[in-house]
Symmetry: C2
Subunit: 342 residues, 2 copies
């Protein structure tokens, strides 16, 4: 049904002529057409208006031969649906007026009916699928419960999320109750996305790398794995844990179809950790897109040489930076599409 | 000569009855007596007045049975000595009015005579050694050239130092010239510290973990290793690279006496990477000092059980957080001192 199914084949571990390619945050601030919409509509309006979210989702597909689209949205729409009122503040980013730091506050958090509170996301999926016309698969996503807890407790972005970690260490029961509520909401949310037609889902654990391996199991992986278990019954699941190289061996035993890795891990080391039967995704350093297009091309080809063409999805090791020249992003994508094994 | 030489024995790989213990940033903001001085004198004044720097250095030793002192100072005194005018701004941290982003600016940076420009540090060492009265060894330190470049180019702290990285990728010649100048200054600076009487030096590569393994070799390790080579002729060298687990195998081949590790690495994995003959230092998660003293004690004992008592220096995996209760810091230190192998 989907014309270009390279991405889905790689997720299933099927033979492909070259690795598929997409970029984390491919629908975003490095594109002038995105910036034009950004000047008109604020961040969460762009997420909440299906016509805007779907338009932004397909913008990079009009320019580049990408092998997948990823729905434009934000991980914080989930806590918003749970009654946690995140705003997006200029030059600060995510902002929560009253961060969650007590058991009483956690108890007041609701597990919503996602059809009511996140209906706009499902409408955006419908409109996006129309625009994509089955050209490429559409990826849905959610933040990991731990990463969402980080924002809920810290109240904003942070270098090390020490307040969030300290909350978990001082009030483990409250932390686990909040993680449980986020997990339940996320499972309903992603399942509904699949019903609406996304072909795969990715879970972003952006801040898992702040935890020790032992604490990671307790506060992050346990909950991610429940989402993976629930979703793997209905779709392909990708788990991307930034800085979570130490958990890759454990992750490889799960029902995830692919694991994302950041650029601090060599391709050989990543493969060694996950074994031969897991699809890997990554891991070009986003800042390396500031190199010249010729250097980017060479480095991308080296990356594929090292990861291999099979069970591999070419991607960045984290989201694309806002100030990357469009031609450099294009050089990255075309280097994958043009790759020929010598 | 030094009464408690446990720390030096561990660095030399000699048999010890228990591991030595010190804490990164042990002279700092979790201590009320430090805060009292902080209210009176600004940050760089505290570094520049030998009577203040030496007083702050010995403050934690008056409270706790630590096995080493580390000279109170800052990694940015080195670029300051090179004519790069860092300030410390309230609620921002390090601040450089005009960040270094061109070859012309790099060419204007000087390699100073450290005796002239950093004489206050050497005076602080003299005063500290008098106060320590040979009770415990004194550690001197410097930032890695890469980490200092990060601040010079970014102009302030950052989550990912993308501007600094992009500068290196776009202007590698300028980056290498700056790294070279910092390296030369750092070698003179640390050698002079050793002449003045520090018993060991630690190199802090706080932002090495932002680089890919390949870029790390080119922009960070190459220069750290030159410092290690030069200093290992005259003293014991510890290298601590936050997030640099991927480089530990390479680091273990150097002339460093010990390697610091952060808390994302398990003790067993760290040992596997560095082999049996390297002393390891770390790696208690600083945020875990928010647990209760009883939990801290239990976790510290588990940490030592896993690292083993030999070729091991108990420490945090990064600097102590400002809001840690003094009794929790003390619980950490006493748990090491009281450790008995069952």
């Amino acid at each position: 049904m989907i014309k270009n199914d390279l991405f889905l084949k790689a997720l299933r571990g099927e033979q492909v002529e070259r690795p598929p390619v997409w970029m984390m945050r491919q629908a975003g601030r490095y594109l002038p057409e995105f910036m034009a919409l950004r000047d008109k509509y604020d961040f969460f309006t762009r997420c909440q208006k299906p016509e805007l979210a779907s338009e932004i989702t397909v913008q990079p597909l009009r320019r580049f031969p990408l092998d997948a689209a990823i729905l434009f949205s934000d991980i914080l729409v989930v806590p918003q649906a749970m009654g946690i009122n995140f705003e997006m503040r200029e030059s600060i980013g995510p902002w929560l007026e009253t961060p969650i730091r007590t058991m009483e506050q956690v108890q007041a958090v609701s597990v919503p009916d996602v059809n009511e509170s996140l209906g706009y996301v499902f409408e955006a999926i419908e409109m996006t699928l129309e625009k994509l016309d089955n050209d490429v698969p559409l990826i849905g996503f959610a933040g990991s419960p731990w990463t969402i807890l980080c924002y809920c407790v810290e109240g904003r972005g942070s270098k090390a999320f020490d307040i969030a970690k300290s909350f978990c260490f001082q009030h483990p029961e409250a932390a686990h109750l909040l993680l449980e509520k986020i997990t339940q909401t996320t499972i309903s949310y992603l399942k509904r996305k699949v019903e609406k037609g996304v072909s795969a889902v990715q879970i972003f654990d952006s801040w898992g790398g702040m935890l020790s391996p032992t604490d990671y199991q307790e506060f992050s992986w346990k909950y991610i794995n429940r989402i993976v278990e629930a979703l793997s019954e209905v779709t392909q699941v990708i788990v991307f844990g930034k800085g979570c190289w130490f958990a890759l061996e454990e992750m490889a035993l799960s029902k995830a179809s692919a694991l994302g890795v950041d650029w601090t891990l060599s391709p050989e080391h990543a493969r060694k950790l996950v074994g031969p039967n897991m699809t890997l995704q990554g891991n070009f350093d986003p800042a390396r897109l500031h190199s010249s297009p010729a250097v980017i091309r060479k480095m991308v080809h080296e990356m594929i040489d090292r990861f291999g063409t099979q069970r591999y999805i070419a991607n960045l090791g984290h989201g694309i930076l806002p100030n990357i020249p469009v031609e450099n992003a294009e050089a990255f994508i075309r280097a994958v599409v043009d790759y020929k094994k010598n």
